[in-house]
């Protein structure tokens, strides 16, 4: 604490001593203040940076490129996720002939819903290395759904996934399902 030098008064006819200044200054409040400011600047500098997520798009085929061989993904080796309106999500493992509004199942964007579906489909896949998730956002989807599902890919460590448009036959079933 700040020391206050009590000057001794008195002493009859005592010699007048030159005043000795105490060079000690109490630094505690200053340190307090410094720490406070330090905290403030530290937090603002770390929190102002937003998080980012990598996204790589597949390149568009050039007109003079050789046509790549068609890669057919087996139905059992893939799962199609349809991002619909009002944050709804549908999934199926069917092709254009077998897809009906019964087996276009609806699920939810959480651990119990979509993550289970992906994990189940992955477990049931014939060739686990080539298990592919096909993400098909409809025009009713919002950006959040898209980011959520990419996030889900990162969580389930599904490295093979693709984003494409809905096929017309899927669109028809989807429209029926949501009542467009």
């Amino acid at each position: 604490m700040a020391e206050v030098q009590v000057q001794e008064k008195g002493g009859k006819g005592g010699k007048v001593r030159s005043k000795k200044n105490n060079p000690r200054v109490d630094m505690t409040p200053m340190v307090d203040l410094n720490f406070l400011l330090l905290m403030f600047f530290m937090f603002t500098s770390t929190f102002s940076k937003p998080n980012v997520m990598d996204l790589g798009l597949p390149g568009k085929p050039k007109p003079n490129d050789p046509i790549p061989p068609k890669t057919e993904i087996k139905l059992s080796n893939s799962v199609s996720l349809l991002l619909g309106k009002n944050n709804r999500i549908f999934w199926h493992q069917q092709d254009n002939t077998s897809l009906t509004d019964q087996n276009l199942a609806e699920t939810s964007f959480d651990r119990e819903g979509i993550r289970k579906i992906i994990e189940q489909a992955k477990a049931g896949a014939a060739d686990k290395d080539k298990f592919t998730v096909i993400i098909k956002p409809t025009d009713d989807a919002v950006y959040k759904n898209f980011v959520d599902i990419l996030d889900e890919m990162a969580i389930t460590k599904s490295e093979r996934y693709g984003v494409t448009d809905l096929k017309p036959w899927e669109k028809a079933i989807y429209d029926k399902k949501v009542g467009n």
Binding site: M1, E3, R24, D26, M27, T28, M30, V31, N34, F35, L37, L38, F41, M42, T44, S45, S48, K49, P50, N51, V52, M53, D54, L55, G56, L57, P58, G59, K60, L83, R111, P137, T138, D139, D140, A141, V142, Y143, K144, N145, F146, V147, D148, L150, D151, A154, I155
Partner: protein, 202 residues
């Protein structure tokens, strides 16, 4: 028997050294802090588990608002901004006077089509801040100005990185058109700005 009194220690600690250290750190953080500039429109990015922070590279940002308007934020570097403006001006046949060029070096984000850019840059800074663009930068199949901004920036300096900041409620077709446009110019790697979310514990 005389009781031995424990020696009383003074509570005074020398704070000078501590004070020095805190000052040092404080100066460091004050120097390195960059305050976030206010956004033109409120955008709430969706959350993700990604823990990667936005790198410090020369960054251009595309903001997509909830109603599907696009804003483009060119890189900070003033001389390269000038080059960019020149290139865009050439492409769209717009010329800028020196005041407008100077304004472009200071501008925060661009949210107007090329034909309105001159009048936008002529506004005072306060007016620019309060200017709410009715349409944003056009981005559709016939008029891809947004992609042109990216392309011209890349032709100024191919090292530029792109970050896209979309709102939770931005409609997907808008984002898709932007992605398709970026694929057209073969610019395939970029970042999506998200907000932090706890990693789910499995």
């Amino acid at each position: 028997m005389a009781r031995i009194k424990p020696k009383r220690h003074g509570v005074v600690t020398d704070m000078t050294a501590m004070c020095d250290v805190t000052f040092l750190l404080l100066t460091f953080f004050i120097m390195t802090t960059q305050f976030k500039k206010p956004d033109v429109e409120q955008i709430k990015p969706p959350s993700s588990i990604s823990e990667k922070l936005l790198p410090d590279a020369s960054l251009m940002t595309i903001n997509a608002t909830p109603d599907g308007k696009f804003y483009f934020q060119p890189v900070e570097n003033a001389t390269e901004r000038l080059e960019l403006l020149d290139k865009m001006g050439q492409k769209y046949g717009v010329t800028f006077d020196n005041n407008q060029k100077a304004a472009f070096q200071r501008v925060q984000t661009i949210g107007v089509p090329m034909n309105q850019l001159r009048s936008y840059l002529s506004l005072s800074e306060d007016e620019q801040k309060n200017f709410k663009s009715p349409k944003g930068i056009p981005m559709d199949s016939t008029n891809k100005q947004l992609v042109d901004w990216v392309e011209q920036s890349l032709s100024v300096n191919p090292e530029y990185k792109l970050a896209i900041k979309g709102d939770v409620t931005t409609e997907y077709p808008k984002v898709k058109s932007l992605f398709e446009g970026l694929r057209d110019i073969d610019f395939l790697k970029f970042w999506l700005i998200t907000s932090q979310e706890g990693k789910p514990n499995e």
